[in-house]
Symmetry: C2
């Protein structure tokens, strides 16, 4: 019946919200059936109607992370080329409390993912897609003359992802030293360095027509 | 008596080695008293003579990680300037099986460290020291004319650490795509981009005398 269904859906939402809070505070190492039950004020037995095993709880946590990442607000992408790349990388950095919580859960998930062949393969695939999603915008940047004509764009995409993920980690551990303006300035410097031709003395060839 | 003492020390060594193996295979999420006891073929009760609590086991794991990192073999540092920076960053990357196991444990420890204020502060301090350890070599590089005279060297140290740690993560998840030669080439390109003056058109001022 509709009301009961609504209650059930609302309760599922509550459970998910609590799982997310426990994750954001305590990480995967602190995500236990008991911790979630305590945070909800219910018994572990009651929670096991939702998650019969620890594994089911971890799977739900990873699904939540995917879902919240996919549904996160993103910046408008107004222009082609490096400006778009910049915005896509800004969307990854921990610049707001919500972004910070999500990044904390991502970084925490690496411990679990590295220990499980299927999860590791899924993560590798995700990073391959992220690099691939940058590529058309790097190509546009090259065609616009924003990047050297001979730049290795796949390599540049990999470097941009590496730089951004490493900056996420430093900013999570030391938010006072890496506030929004520092993270943004570091990203802008990284992109500026990509614009420069390979040697300062010899200008890069003109961009392809 | 000496023999008994030797046995005890040898047994401690065995316990540490097993803790390290479990960590490298299963991460912090898989590091339990039961998993270590099973891997050693002893009872959990027996293992609790070494680690009375899960917390004691985690603390030992973090100590092991510090110790093995401090004692790892490092490359010779033959020259001043960027060549030294390069070697220091190569020493971080997962280029050998031992380096890979240690990096896997480091990345896995972030989940735990981010959830604990003291551990997070210790980690932030460690990264501050790492950036500071690069600084004199970046200054030497600037004085040698390898870097633009006006480069922000603290910022560059932070970018170098971010890039290197992010590359560690990508290489751990996708070792086939990031073998030694790709990691090394990416690092060399990162350092080459730091050498370039801020704009291609305007050459950097001459290095300070």
């Amino acid at each position: 019946m509709p009301p009961a269904r609504g209650d059930r859906a609302a309760r599922r939402e509550d459970v998910s919200e609590t799982v997310w809070q426990v994750l954001a505070d305590k990480g995967f190492g602190g995500l236990t059936l008991r911790a979630v039950a305590t945070a909800m004020g219910v018994s572990t037995g009651m929670l096991m109607h939702y998650f019969p095993t620890k594994r089911a709880l971890l799977t739900h946590a990873l699904d939540l992370l995917e879902k919240r990442t996919a549904e996160r607000p993103r910046r408008a992408r107004p222009t082609e080329g490096l400006a778009t790349v910049r915005v896509m990388l800004l969307d990854i950095l921990p610049l707001t409390p919500g972004d910070t919580a999500r990044n904390r859960v991502w970084v925490g998930s690496w411990d679990l993912s590295l220990a499980d062949d299927d999860l590791a393969a899924a993560q590798a695939e995700r990073y391959t897609r992220l690099r691939a999603s940058l590529l058309p915008h790097l190509e546009a940047a090259r065609d616009l003359g924003e990047l050297p004509a001979l730049a290795d764009l796949e390599r540049l995409a990999a470097s941009a992802v590496a730089f951004t993920h490493g900056l996420v980690v430093q900013a999570l551990f030391d938010p006072a030293r890496f506030p929004e303006e520092v993270q943004t300035a570091m990203l802008d410097e990284f992109l500026a360095s990509a614009r420069r031709p390979a040697t300062a003395a010899a200008p890069a060839p003109a961009p392809a027509p």
